[in-house]
Symmetry: C2
């Protein structure tokens, strides 16, 4: 990830060093939380807990929990309330990757340089590890609602946002479209429809859930909803740009670069990230981290 | 299902006719509810909603939602509060069957005389239909908590019971043990451990969730928890008795009949159902339906 962009003036460099430090601080809290809320590997049946932990600890950028936490911190500083929700979101993201990688889906042997769950534990345990992570995510959110009952309604509202985002019209729906995508996706509108479901919904829900648990008002949530929407899509277009291989005429799947061309895709990601950042204007300095995070995601090289 | 048992005296017959009628009435409300809370088949992406509805409408005894509703009605008569939760539980049960039937698991081509989900829709959509039903179940519970916010805490408590029952130490854990069961299960204790997870947890949670949403007190919930535990196990032992084939020396998987013998299994199911019914004593006539349901489940022929 690149934290210093456009200008090398002292001010920008300092601000970005602050961002980098803050990012690492949040990341470290999240990595600890991800371990805390999962059953131990020696709890029975051991193999399922090993499989759950294997995939959760397989790295990844942790964009979704960081977004949830960063948005939350615009309204409240006590991270104990948001941490379980942020981790639940990452468990859901991990379940979706385990199932996406299965032989019946994308049939991927490696993810982030490590063998995929079904390559290590077999297909049956991989399916069940995904099922367990999805269930556990909601278990953790219910638990938080009972532990911090003074914010119970906020957990229910956030839980609803997350469940909706992952349901048959959201995350699962996006994957349904994806497995048939080569034949049916031929316009950027259809590609956008798939990506909004598959990637956008959960990124948007991460931002909104953070705001809800932090006690944000409804107009603030509306702005942040737009921010999450634009960011989610920008993130996906940027992914396609990073995957772009020059002179490749027939990619395996439709992408923004295959439909809009590489320059078209670059223009589009610029517009989306500008829109995302513009929707943070009303928050002023409070949104500095989210602004920097958006820029770092767009400028990322992997 | 056999509703008239042991005696043919007029009183018992009449009581059981009442039971049969009440059972059908509850069943009909549940069947309607199961359709109501699912997205329509023509909502996009259509194929996932077709697959979800295909499996949910593939029959089944609806034991779990009926248990939830019957237990609820001991405390409150307005079924609108329990119906979404009862249906959510049946969605979860359906997801677990779709995933259990997959080629990587039990590899079953038929269930209840109909082709299994992956035989109709392919493996990828079957996995996703299971994922979507599980997610949708929690979505429906959150929605109820927001719609009937005066009972929000009860929905959160019931949701927690259900999520816990389906997590890696419950339903999913039972399936993990099951797929390795031939080699590792050789005592009735180990078999019981698997069945309590795989079948018992969700049956128990159905009973407890019904009581919670109905506003039962904690000592009532404790008795009903015991009832649900005993009933769940009795149900599974009875399943093994019904599957028992005389002279079969090596069944595919360990069962209560292979471990305890057919007579031993029959004794065990009698003891469990007596314990289940005994734990209803403090509820007197209010528990008549649950008592009859228990007897009908134990006397069932399929």
């Amino acid at each position: 990830m690149v934290y210093i962009r456009r200008s090398n003036t002292r001010v920008v460099t300092e601000r970005n060093l602050d961002f980098k430090e803050e990012f690492q601080k949040k990341l470290s809290i999240i990595e600890d939380g991800l371990k805390t809320y999962l059953p131990h590997e020696d709890e029975k049946p051991e193999i399922i807990h090993q499989a759950m932990r294997y995939s959760v600890s397989s790295g990844g950028k942790r964009i979704r929990p960081i977004l949830a936490m960063a948005t939350y911190e615009m309204f409240d500083r006590d991270v104990k309330y948001i941490l379980p929700v942020a981790c639940a979101i990452e468990y859901i993201h991990t379940y979706s990757l385990i199932h996406d990688d299965l032989p019946a889906m994308d049939n991927d042997d490696f993810r982030r340089g490590k063998p995929t769950s079904h390559r290590v534990f077999g297909e049956a345990i991989a399916i069940l590890a995904g099922d367990a992570l999805l269930t556990h995510a909601f278990n953790v959110i219910y638990e938080s609602a009972l532990t911090y009952s003074e914010r119970m309604k906020l957990y229910v509202l956030a839980g609803k946002e997350i469940a909706e985002a992952c349901d048959s019209k959201g995350l699962v729906g996006g994957q349904v479209i994806d497995i048939n995508s080569v034949s049916i996706i031929d316009t950027s509108e259809k590609l956008m429809d798939m990506d909004i479901r598959k990637t956008g919904c959960l990124i948007r829900a991460s931002v909104v859930a953070g705001a809800i648990i932090g006690g944000a008002g409804s107009s603030d949530i509306l702005y942040l909803n737009t921010f999450g929407e634009k960011l989610g899509l920008a993130f996906q277009v940027q992914d396609d740009i990073l995957d772009y291989k020059e002179n490749e005429i027939f990619p395996d799947k439709p992408t923004y670069t295959s439909i809009l061309g590489i320059e078209g895709a670059r223009e589009y990601v610029k517009k989306l990230s500008k829109d995302a950042i513009d929707s943070l204007n009303i928050f002023g300095d409070k949104a500095a981290f989210l602004r920097n995070l958006t820029m770092s995601l767009i400028d990322r090289k992997a």
